[in-house]
Symmetry: D2
């Protein structure tokens, strides 16, 4: 059979990224407490495609994914990206893993425990810099929190509007930073964490604690920035906070992005 | 050319509904204040298909929709459904219009106005009952509200967790009930309406008012039920309330459905 | 502390369902080949609430879920529903589990294997009928398939438009019917299954096979109906097919629902 | 009342963007054929916030939006962004308008017309460069198309798998480029446009035409690149193609981004 994809292309145009998107696969993620946990990911994979070839061989992405299936793991991503580069004969390979991560969380007073879910994204790019393979990776955690409005508290005789919000932290690091650590930075930036299971004594505690620590979306990204700035393992970060305002049908939002270290080798390519 | 769709089908199986889904079109909706408003709808349309035919002619749905395009209107839905029955030679035709509806809303103290958006669905079925065409229609409004937790208020020394929620009301009526009226029933069932535009004096008012009127999701559907029960134009309703809990990453929810009048001619068919 | 939820309510209105929605938890599902598989579910849980009580105790749903967490399993759902009835002192309890299910699927010629994902929903209601607990459960599978248009094939000199579609089958059964069996019914109703991994010889096979077996959305639900009708374990089903038409920006859709056995004890309550 | 937002902030951290997200408003968009069209937009608005202030005054975004409500228009975006800068006393203001755009489209043979919908995003940033206000804007169109696989056609005795795809084109320009022109570039890059309304003679035409013009996702972005490269009004673009593969449950994807002119003044800030 003819291999159309391998044939030359006359337009002479390099393609930045070609690959597959939105394939779902079970993966294993490093877990600070339990070593690892099984979850389900929606995955994007791509390579650069030089001007000389008409198409990439999309099925090979799935073969690499399936080969590593007992071990599609943030630790083994470099191997996966390396395998992709080899089987597709590419200079640059990319992967994006979107998954739910679970952490056991204890209520603040009763100490009752249940599982809390966090949407996370790990994206990695393996490229060649001066002949050497180089991995650029970004971990993103999306952390639901409680935010209580400082303005509403200040101007009202009693009460204060509050709401669920999401703090999103993305980080490039020079050493392992646990998902648990980024979640902790986000939760400490808010009026209160949210919990999967609260009894009445816990609900009282969370209500009063959040009233004592009012924050705007702007405060949450500034608080996160202070924590992320102080962590020397982090070379670059973006912190965003979005509040699902309880008094509006639209959201309040703030964002800070900072480069702290040398990320000159990082890929400027779009991950999603 | 052969007309495959019109050919006989040997399996002898009636099809409950066959049609098109998720076609987007500009429509006009009745507006209590301004007479009418233009908006954008995602539309589903279908007919029953007798066992004798292999397929329905899907393009005719679009022709009917486009013919009425300056007037795809809740008042003209019966004409559209009647046209569909005719061109597709069907006993029963159905339409579902999902659209954003805007209302100008004044802030409670400053009286400053801006537009508030509501997700609405109108679904209609035209069938034949004893030789006569009969329209069964359901209007659904989804109303964002503020809910403040009675338990949190009661047990806490100060403050109370609150959040955005959605009250969804569906109704079958024997006379016109305005979208504005269903929205009003929903908003009166909550701790407070939400607003597009609030200045500080408004925010103080909303904060204090909601603290004075705490409601569970359960309270909101009971409050709505009392209002819907008292409205004699309403033959059947379903009221649901979902709170995007500010202390959890999951939602609290309650639902009540009631038949008040004779809806024996109403269609049991699935609308979505 | 006062227990507001347990206090009497003066409105004297029964609530059909009160509970939590969209809580995510890891669950285990029965797997025909491997015994069981771990996946992630989005879960809704509810109970009826009599007119005498102001609210339900939402945290108890999470406690029951967490108690069964190593074994949140379609086989143990009856125990979970029974526990919910007990801790919430309710007559009727309901659960809905939405999850991704994986099956290893071999390509038709090369026999290369990879994992294929299916969106599934299991919903169960435990109520009391003449003093006895009775479980009503519905399994829903959503199966991506390839459909090739019979009209386009017939009228064109060459080629035929085809597209990805989704066949959704819901079933009430009197004995275990495997997810794998419902998936099989759906795939046999289409022009071809879709696959996670296809090499060129497989792609040739799928292309030619689907051209040899053209189906409308209407054909797919009729084909599924014949298979579901012939399975005596199935008491009730709904089969729907939606094609993401490659020649339009809207979808073609058909649906058949059938009651075959005695489902008089089944709940009419809304699951989603 | 105290104005908390205007108070000084001790953390001394500049915020890149602070504002509101996901507010829905009716807007008017320039229309090449009819002058203008009314549609519904989901809107994000933001400003930079200097380190000296605790928060931004979110309600002012809504006031500006409502002030321009009869004329929230791509032509007037500069005025809106300028007003935002003024009322919020900011150096930089940003807006993102996500909306459905309708074009009347004639079937290729019957010439029957109906409306086709396109998801579009306009994003604009007004900043100050050497004391002068400067607008950087990006228009994005998402165009559904038909793609037919060259490999499947080549290796199969008959037929070829094809599917709906989406070509997304974003462009920075130095003069007006109509939405209609970007849509045209996308449609010419595919196997065929898709249509809202096709009769049998049209379906035959589209089927045969797409069979005669097979394209990979890679071909579509290369074809688009050639057209976008040749248009001198375009300074920068990104073209992506995603195919909802009819033989898989995942998508094929390719992307090319190119800077052609001087975009040194363009904002690097994230728009979504």
């Amino acid at each position: 059979m003819r291999d159309i994809q391998s044939e030359p292309d006359l337009r002479q145009i390099d393609i930045d990224q070609a690959g597959i998107r939105n394939i779902r696969y079970p993966i294993t993620v490093k877990d600070r407490v339990n070593g690892s946990q099984r979850t389900v990911a929606s995955i994007n994979m791509s390579v650069n495609l030089p001007r000389d070839f008409k198409g990439t061989h999309m099925s090979r992405f799935v073969e690499v994914l399936d080969k590593h299936k007992e071990n599609v793991h943030i630790d083994t991503v470099k191997d996966i990206l390396s395998d992709i580069r080899t089987v597709l004969n590419a200079k640059r390979s990319q992967i994006e893993l979107n998954f739910t991560y679970f952490m056991q969380k204890a209520a603040p007073v009763s100490k009752l425990k249940a599982l809390m879910d966090y949407n996370c994204t790990y994206s990695g790019t393996l490229s060649e810099v001066e002949g050497e393979p180089l991995l650029d990776s970004v971990m993103t955690v999306r952390v639901p929190v409680l935010s209580l409005c400082p303005c509403s508290k200040e101007i009202s005789a009693y009460g204060a509007h509050n709401q669920r919000g999401i703090i999103t932290i993305s980080a490039r690091t020079n050493r392992l930073v646990w998902i648990e650590e980024l979640v902790d930075y986000a939760e400490r930036s808010a009026s209160s964490p949210v919990y999967p299971l609260l009894k009445r004594e816990d609900e009282k505690y969370v209500t009063e604690r959040s009233y004592d620590k009012p924050v705007f979306a702007e405060d949450m990204v500034r608080n996160a920035t202070m924590l992320l700035d102080a962590d020397n393992r982090i070379l670059w970060f973006e912190a965003a906070a979005e509040n699902f305002e309880s008094i509006h049908n639209h959201n309040a939002w703030a964002m800070i992005s900072r480069t702290k270290g040398d990320i000159s080798v990082c890929t400027p390519f779009r991950q999603s």
